[in-house]
């Protein structure tokens, strides 16, 4: 018995719309908790540090430092911390052939998810 489903979802992002809107342009919009000052990128609806729901959107530079990196055939993923964020984020590396530890956020290739372009190695000669 052969079955094929083609499902075309359109998902509203609700209170996280500011984050996803900025992300589509390659910008990092984080959530600053009004309760404890925790800066979350990516953000959550409730502060993971103090449980507060009030806060404000703040722009980050979009630059990040690698914490861990795992390579597979044709792709690489990393756990990174964006400058100014208190949490870490899981990103896909746009240019996995590069092995530097710093990178910058890019507009996502498939409309969501965090993509990071690593900096080219510096030539100090």
């Amino acid at each position: 018995m052969k079955r094929i489903l083609h499902l075309d979802y359109a998902q509203p992002t609700g209170r996280l719309a500011s984050h996803f809107g900025a992300l589509a342009r390659g910008n990092a919009m984080a959530w600053l908790c009004a309760g404890c000052g925790h800066v979350a990128f990516p953000p959550s609806l409730t502060c993971g540090s103090c449980g507060a729901r009030d806060g404000a959107w703040i722009a980050l530079s979009g630059r990040a430092t690698l914490i861990q990196r795992s390579d597979m055939q044709g792709a690489a993923y990393a756990l990174v911390r964006f400058d100014g964020a208190d949490n870490a984020a899981l990103v896909r590396l746009k240019n996995p052939e590069i092995t530097t530890q710093r990178g910058a956020l890019l507009p996502p290739e498939n409309e969501s998810g965090l993509w990071l372009e690593l900096e080219e190695p510096r030539n100090d000669d």
Partner: protein, 386 residues
């Protein structure tokens, strides 16, 4: 925990089905074999709890109603449980709660999954990526191997665990599975072969990863007074669940399975036993390193790496882990996985397990299962008859 016994149980072979059989067939087989093992018949069952992770695999919404119909069960209480990789274990705990609360007398907990036979590996991987935060991690096309790999790298950095430690786990669990005729991957492999297998996502190689499996498993739960008098059946002495942040980056320690530590304390308290009374473990080894991360979090040894390297977790060690072969060896049809773990641990402490058994059945066994990457952690402590 009150008097909830595992009256009996059974599982189908776990493998990649190519024989034309369907998940409905597997459910029927597991259910009736479990009834036989418990000394019951269909009309004795007054509640059915179905465990199935995703309707995308079975292409059947409301599977509990359909399965009850196929099993010839009518007019009984139905429930479907879901919690990622912990789905089967949560279903057992839900069934036990029905018995303990007096809402049912004899509960069949039936887990199944048809992930391997129905879809190609890439499609299954795409669905499993939705097990994490589907709006961020899942949207990247990341697979479970890479998320587990990033967590394992953090664990390695903090503890000094090595790829060789992971390979030892992967080889040992496959060797344990060789005595389990229902196992998916009963492989005669060595640590060197694990280390030489193709890279999946560093540090994980193909043999560090559990397979996609098809299959079903069923256990029958009830109080002692409502089950046939069969000697030595195991009791669910303690059960607990705890969660962690879904996204690895939101965790203070991405390499540690902190929720298991929380759940372990609660399960031990409920069972009324000390951690050193646990004599064997069936543990959620979706990846080889995850076995060591879980053991680290469960806190049953002073130093998990020293214990691992000293052979503590081997079949003939002081605390045998995954005598069934675990997910790495026995396989992982998700909805059935936790049910089969409970069944294996119960039969091991009852002294009647069909595969690798401890030399002397201990009084207490621990079963550990999780969904996500140790995001939703379920633990149960089973006690043999005394």
């Amino acid at each position: 925990m009150s008097d909830v016994l595992i009256g009996g149980g059974a599982m189908t072979a776990f493998n990649r089905r190519k024989d034309g059989s369907s998940w409905r067939d597997w459910c029927l087989e597991a259910f009736h074999s479990a009834l036989d093992d418990a000394g019951l018949v269909s009309c004795d069952i007054d509640a059915l709890v179905v465990a199935s992770e995703s309707d995308f695999f079975s292409l059947q919404l409301n599977p509990a109603a359909l399965i009850a119909d196929e099993l010839g069960l009518q007019g009984i209480r139905l429930l479907r449980a879901e919690g990622g990789g912990a789905t089967g274990h949560l279903a057992v705990q839900a069934g036990a709660a029905l018995v303990a609360s007096g809402q049912a007398r004899r509960v069949a907990v039936l887990g199944f999954e048809a992930s391997a036979a129905h879809l190609d590996g890439a499609s299954v991987g795409a669905l499993y990526s939705l097990s994490y935060d589907a709006w961020s991690e899942g949207a990247l096309g990341i697979g479970s191997a890479s998320i587990y790999a990033l967590s394992a790298l953090a664990f390695m950095q903090e503890t000094g665990a090595t790829a060789q430690d992971f390979a030892r786990v992967a080889a040992r669990n496959r060797q344990n599975a060789r005595q389990n005729h229902l196992a998916h991957l009963p492989l005669d492999v060595s640590e060197a072969e694990v280390l030489a297998s193709p890279l999946v996502s560093a540090p994980y190689r193909r043999l560090d990863c559990s397979p996609l499996s098809d299959g079903a498993a069923c256990v029958i739960l009830g109080s002692g007074a409502d089950l046939p008098q069969r000697s030595g059946r195991a009791r669910l002495a303690g059960m607990a669940v705890a969660n962690d942040r879904v996204r690895l980056g939101d965790r203070a320690a991405p390499g540690r399975f902190v929720a298991k530590t929380v759940a372990m304390r609660a399960a031990l308290a409920q069972a009324g036993c000390a951690s050193d009374a646990i004599g064997l473990i069936e543990l959620y080894d979706s990846f080889s390193g995850a076995q060591l991360q879980a053991l680290d979090a469960l806190g049953l040894t002073d130093n998990v790496l020293t214990a691992e390297r000293d052979g503590c977790f081997a079949a003939d060690g002081a605390l045998p882990v995954n005598l069934s072969g675990g997910l790495l060896g026995q396989g992982a049809p998700v909805g059935a996985t936790g049910v089969a773990q409970i069944l294996a641990a119960a039969q091991q402490i009852e002294g009647r397990y069909h595969g690798c058994r401890p030399a002397q059945p201990p009084r207490f066994a621990l079963v550990d299962t999780h969904g996500g990457i140790a995001t939703l952690c379920a633990l149960s402590i089973l006690e043999g008859s005394v």
